[in-house]
Amino acid sequence: MNKKALEMSFNWIFAIIVGAVILFLAIYFVGKIISTGRYQQDSLVAKELSSLTNPLGTGFAETSKAVIDLKLDTRIFNDCSSVGNFGKSILSATTRSGIGKEWGDKGVEQELQSKYIFSEKVEEGKKLYVFTREFNMPFYVSDIMVFTSKNYCFINIPYDFENEFVNINAGNLKVGNCTLSDIQVCFNQDCDISIDTYEQSVTKNGSKVYYTGELIYAAIFSDKETYECNIKRLMKRISHLTLIYQDKIDIINEMCFSGLGPELQGLDSMAKSLNSSIDLGQVESSAFALDYKNDYAGCQLY
């Protein structure tokens, strides 16, 4: 064999092997950078969503609403934990991509202890519709924040709810003229989501939850697990707030006697003993008793 030919072929083999290694490393690192960028972007979506929950509070306006335009098709994951002093809503997101996996891994989770986010476990779309309602029991406890991405159609809606409907409709809710793609919400009759206004319950996917007051909106648009978890969290918040009011009574008692201690304790114990939404009625009764006494107290506590 020609010695020069051998020398050439060895050089080529060596160059090809090393070139392939460099190319492989380059492709590997570019892939890593892209996936890290995607992870960062998904984490930012969740972070921005969690930051947006602050100005979206009602601020004593009873209700507020907004449409959040997401640049890409996005899945918002809403998890809830009732463990700990206040429990937490856990938001995370992932976006659809044309490169690699269609849906990447979830970005960094955002834990919100002071917010109560009601939605399906996963909301998907380019638009996220948000509305908030003030939740009082009997004092202001928090805003309940509802995230939706699907279209809902209300049937047989009572007159008083129809008026409220304008306040919560950010663009994906309508009354009547339902299409096949809409999720039907019916009052006192069977359909996708059925509301029994006499029993104060909402049945969805075969699961029933109970509501009181503004919680009807949370019950309609949440899955059972998220709803029940957030109800327990709200009860924990009520319990903490009753303790704060009791401490306040101790401070102002000399100049301003309210005599609301026993009613606050009653509400606290009812809130603590709630096992599921079926017990909401009992908490509401305690809240009514407190509110009644506060209205006639020489020194109103709230």
């Binding site: 020398e7 460099i22 690192f29 002093n85 002071s114 707030l241 704060i244 020194c299």
Partner: protein, 161 residues
Amino acid sequence: MKKAQFKIQEMAFILLAIVLFFVIVGLFFVAIYSRNLKNIATNAEEGQAILIAQVLAEYPEFSCGSLCLDADRLIVMNKRRKYTNFWPVETIEVRKITKEEEKECTLENYPDCNYFKVHNSETENIRKVGSFTSLCRKDITSGQTYDKCELAKILIGYEVR
């Protein structure tokens, strides 16, 4: 050394130089990228802190109406342990706008004080943003109870990364 061996060695050195060059460029890129990431995180924290400063008076733990902080509840919220991880910020302070010397409020000296430390984490690198609000408490004059309100500044601290 044979000419072929010399050429292989030469190529190996060139390849090594190329790899080193790309590694250095990569490290440079990573350094800029991570600094940018820290800025993004700090900006997000700052945005959150500004929003909290604006809406703190709406939290039921403090609120006595629109843009009103209840001083009687601020004092009972002072460093309340169960609320340690509740707030999405590092510090929450409220200062009365007054010419008097700063005096931190405790259960013992309240209401003869002007500075409430409601929440304080152990984070060191903190920057603060503020917002003004009214600070009200129950007071009594000639046997009549009334709401005494003063101007105050809410200071929210966030971590600089």
